[in-house]
Amino acid sequence: MANQTTDLKTAADIGAERTRSGVFYRPNVDILEKADELLVLADIPGVAGDKVDIHFEDGTLSIHGRVEPRHEDTDYLLQEYGVGDYWRTFEISEAVDASKISAEYAEGVLTLHLPKAEAAKPRKIDIKPK
């Protein structure tokens, strides 16, 4: 246990000037590929279900989780993480059927389903007998 490190949040580079102040954090993600879809799981604790914005435009998928500020005036005795919005973008290849992207949210984890386009799905090729 002694050499365990603390899980720290990384500030996100959102690449544009913002109108709201505060730090944006880059959520940790898992990206998995299944036979028929890509699955993106993002840790966005503290975000209420209706405060997640997911955008898909020009092959770029962006996730923005808005966090209500909490304990702003607190003098922390120990502060290992900051509270702020989450932001992260991904380049998505054309192999994804953008119209069928769906999302779920529970317990601070956002799950995005990116179904593969028909043309990109693996298929078994049957050999015709001569």
Binding site: D7, L8, Y76, L78, Y81, E107
Partner: protein, 145 residues
């Protein structure tokens, strides 16, 4: 021991600067770039008038996967973060920590273990630890002679 500084003050100044640098990043946006991302959940602790509050971000954890135990001035947390997907898949990114984590936090004041309460909401665990009667601040009346 070899002193490479002509002036011992200089060595102390440098040490102080290094320590400051170490903690600056930590406290402002919580993220020195040199620390690995995976690990045990980060904790924030603060005090209110009659309680000590500890808050952790534990996304994906359900209430039965958290074990909280409190001794007089020590809080021990055992957390199980579930694995994403047990089935055969290809991972392109794997940043979310999983597995069992255990952490003990020394509290700034003795608390009453019987009145500790915890709430898990949207992946944020908040533990409220009311102070023990003996550690509450009390007003001392000054007698006049």
């Amino acid at each position: 021991m070899v002193f490479r500084y002509q002036n011992p003050r200089q060595a102390m100044d440098q040490l102080r600067d290094e320590v400051n640098r170490l903690f600056n990043g930590w406290l402002t946006n919580g993220t020195p770039a040199w620390l690995p991302v995976r690990g045990q959940p980060a904790v924030n602790v603060w005090e209110t008038v009659d309680a000590v509050v500890a808050e952790l971000e534990v996304p994906g954890v359900k209430s039965d996967q958290v074990d909280i135990s409190v001794a007089e001035s020590e809080l021990t947390l055992s957390i199980h973060r579930p694995e994403t997907e047990p089935t055969e898949v290809t991972y392109h990114r794997r940043e979310r920590p999983s597995g069992d984590f255990c952490r003990t936090i020394r509290l700034p004041a003795p608390v009453d273990p019987d009145r500790v309460s915890a709430e898990l909401r949207e992946g944020v665990l908040t533990i409220t630890l009311p102070r023990a009667e003996s550690s509450k601040p009390r007003k001392i009346n000054v007698k006049t002679g």
